[in-house]
């Protein structure tokens, strides 16, 4: 469990809690349960949490899969700088948001889930993680040969004639290497 980035899981958990808060709130408001103002608050809090948590942060190691259409929200969240970057702030914020929804049964599940997300964010913050936005990468140059050539020819021209070349399955030109080729580790 050494290299886990807790913030990633906290992010999923918080997003789910936001959705649960909204659902619970909608049920209570629609059916006009007693104490439904709490439910109205829960809807607002849930929407806010969803918007905040939708853009996924960048992983420290490896590539990060963006959520669909998250770049617009990333721009907004980035604007707040250290408030959204620091996970201590997020942990406290989620804990605070969760409390009022705990007074109504419909939204209490959202409270519990958001509380758990807050705890995982606290753990992430203690381990020094930070939220970094995923930047757009510059467009890659289209590869030569349709991207199927992995290794450039090892010998300069003139190269050995075609009949000593290996029989290729496609139009990729094979190469007879007179010097041994070392296979590198992947």
């Amino acid at each position: 469990m050494g290299r886990i980035e807790w913030a990633m899981w906290a992010n999923e958990q918080a997003l789910a809690s936001g959705l649960i808060l909204v659902t619970g709130g909608v049920v209570a408001v629609a059916a006009q349960f007693k104490g439904w103002p709490f439910a109205a608050y829960a809807i607002a809090a849930g929407v806010f949490v969803c918007l905040l948590e939708y853009p996924r942060g960048k992983r420290k190691k490896g590539s990060t899969m963006e959520r669909c259409g998250q770049k617009y929200l990333t721009a907004v969240v980035k604007v707040f700088g250290p408030i959204t970057r620091n996970y201590y702030v997020r942990a406290i914020l989620h804990a605070a948001l969760a409390v009022p929804a705990g007074f109504l049964l419909s939204t209490i599940l959202g409270t519990a889930c958001l509380g758990i997300a807050s705890a995982i964010y606290l753990l992430a913050a203690i381990r020094g993680e930070e939220w970094n936005p995923i930047e757009q990468k510059p467009q890659e140059r289209p590869q030569v040969g349709g991207g199927t050539i992995k290794q450039p020819p090892a010998m300069p021209p003139p190269r050995p004639p075609a009949d000593t070349r290996k029989k290729p399955p496609a139009e990729v030109a094979g190469q007879e290497n007179p010097i041994p080729v070392t296979i590198e580790a992947e």
Binding site: M1, G2, R3, I4, E5, M8, W9, E12, Q13, A16, I20, T23, G24, V27, A28, A31, F33, K34, G35, R56, R59, G62, M65, F103, L104, L105, S106, I108, L109, A112, C113, I116, G145, G147, T148, I149, K150, Q151, K166, K167, P168, P169, A170, V172, G174, Q175, E176, N177, P180, V181, I183, E184, A185, E186
Partner: protein
């Protein structure tokens, strides 16, 4: 529309039906969800289906997809069930607190003071909230706990988390034990009630509901005694499969000999009493000195004809790196290894097809290492079932005219293969055969291979047909 629930419906409306229906679905789905991941059961099914058609076993390849589908269904029904019960609790509470002499309030006050168990409304005071009731009753409390367990399991099994941080997914998913335990307890308290049969004889709801003031007493006009209620027994979800899974997995220790290859690859050659394998199978390995709880799957790279079984492990994370370090330290006693398996996958069927195309990408070549070794042994022993005229093309000798990369006569071609050329070549070479295409590799490759299989299979059942088999972990 059962008369038993006439009065319950007065209090709760249709939310009662929603809650009970989704509960039955949840029971069923909870049983189903364990079936696709019982590794032992799957291997057993594969083994017994030797006489069945190949397509039956192909369905077993999609076990993970099925598991996920059932999980989505459980999540959906849980949501429906919870919403229905939210309404139920609220309306029970409202009925209890109403003092307007309506049918609901009369029903709620019935049998509340006695010690008997004949009440209808589980809320017994009129100064409580639904939340308080939830947390002080067994179904309510267990419901909250198992829902939290379910949500944690779902969030940690999102594709992103699973691929990047597998341990979180693996350990959190063991919360299923809490889920099943809670599920069994959940229905026991019997908060949902209906009129008892005995009471139905003395009190007909349709007739008596109109005038509740005349219930009981010595009123002989309407023949309506006070109605009495009893709990409806809940169905206990079958947890047999989970017990089976726990009981049937019996790993035992294996003796290991380790060979460390360059580029941080460890080959473990092992002996275990009573171990027998087929080509392309995989085992789960646990090394207590590295981690007591982690079991990781590795494909067997040895052939069944050899007297040991081996796996090749590449350093690709915490556990694998620690394992390689442990073996490299050369302590006087080699670390203990525990082995669970072997478990069967699609590659077992390689020899069942007339013609087989094996595609391995990246680390996915490992099952096919086992297959190739097995072919070599069969060739050595002149196995008559193997068509040797084709094997000659990939002769395993070390003459001058060998390829420099692999040392084989078959030349290595660089670059990615053009699948349409390969498939059309095979289709022309074997126009009347059934060809099995086996892939162990990334999803994108699976899509293009599947497309080619459909494209080059002929509609005529006498002509060439490509069957696609995929395996992934």
């Amino acid at each position: 529309r059962d008369k038993k629930f006439y009065y319950t419906r007065v209090l709760l409306g249709s939310a009662l039906a929603w809650a009970r229906a989704s509960a039955k679905c949840l029971n069923f789905n909870s049983m189903l969800i364990l079936l696709p991941v019982c590794r032992n059961l799957l291997s057993f099914l594969r083994g017994t289906c030797l006489c069945c058609r190949r397509t039956m076993r192909k369905q077993l390849d999609r076990n993970l997809t099925f598991h996920k589908l059932v999980a989505y269904a459980i999540a959906l029904f849980t949501a429906v069930h919870i919403i229905a019960h939210l309404c139920n609790f609220e309306w029970y509470n409202d009925s209890q607190q109403a003092a307007d002499g309506s049918l609901s309030s009369i029903l709620s006050n019935l049998h509340q003071d006695e010690e008997s168990n004949k009440w209808l409304n589980p809320i017994h005071t009129n100064s409580t909230t639904p939340a308080y009731v939830t947390f002080t009753t067994i179904p309510g409390l267990t419901g909250v706990i198992i829902t939290l367990a379910l949500i944690l399991m779902v969030t940690s099994s999102m594709e992103f988390i699973r691929r990047s941080y597998f341990e979180v997914f693996w350990y959190t998913h063991h919360l299923f034990i809490i889920y099943f335990a809670g599920l069994v307890i959940h229905g026991i308290a019997g908060l949902v009630r209906g009129q008892t049969a005995e009471s139905l004889n003395k009190h007909n709801p349709e007739h008596c509901a109109q005038d509740p003031r005349y219930w009981g007493g010595n009123n002989t006009d309407s023949h309506c005694e006070e109605p009495e209620f009893g709990s409806i027994p809940a169905e206990v979800s079958p947890s047999i499969c989970s017990l089976c899974r726990v009981l049937l997995a019996t790993p035992r220790s294996a003796q290991a000999v380790a060979v460390v290859h360059p580029s941080k690859v460890l080959e473990l050659q092992m002996h275990k009493k009573g171990f027998s394998m087929e080509v392309g199978q995989y085992i789960f390995i646990n090394c207590p000195s590295v981690s007591h709880l982690e079991w990781h799957p590795f494909t067997l790279t040895s052939a069944p004809e050899e007297d040991f079984f081996s796996v090749h492990i590449r350093a690709a994370g915490d556990w694998t790196e620690n394992l390689i370090d442990t073996f490299q330290q050369q302590k006087p006693k080699t670390p203990r290894i525990e082995v669970d398996g072997p478990f069967g996958t699609a590659s077992e069927d390689v020899f069942q097809y007339e013609v087989a195309m094996l595609v391995g990408a990246g680390i996915g070549v490992t099952p096919f290492a086992s297959v190739l070794k097995s072919i070599w042994y069969k060739f050595q022993h002149a196995d008559q079932r193997l068509k040797t005229k084709k094997v000659g093309q990939a002769a395993f000798n070390f003459d001058n005219d060998t390829d420099v990369v692999t040392g084989l006569k078959q030349k290595t071609a660089f670059g990615r293969p053009m699948w349409s050329n390969e498939f059309s070549a095979v289709a022309t070479a074997h126009p009347r055969s059934v060809v099995g295409v086996f892939l162990c590799g990334p999803q994108a490759l699976a899509k293009s291979l599947q497309k080619c299989c459909h494209q080059y299979s002929s509609l005529d059942p006498r002509k060439v047909k490509f069957y696609f088999n995929k395996e992934n972990f």
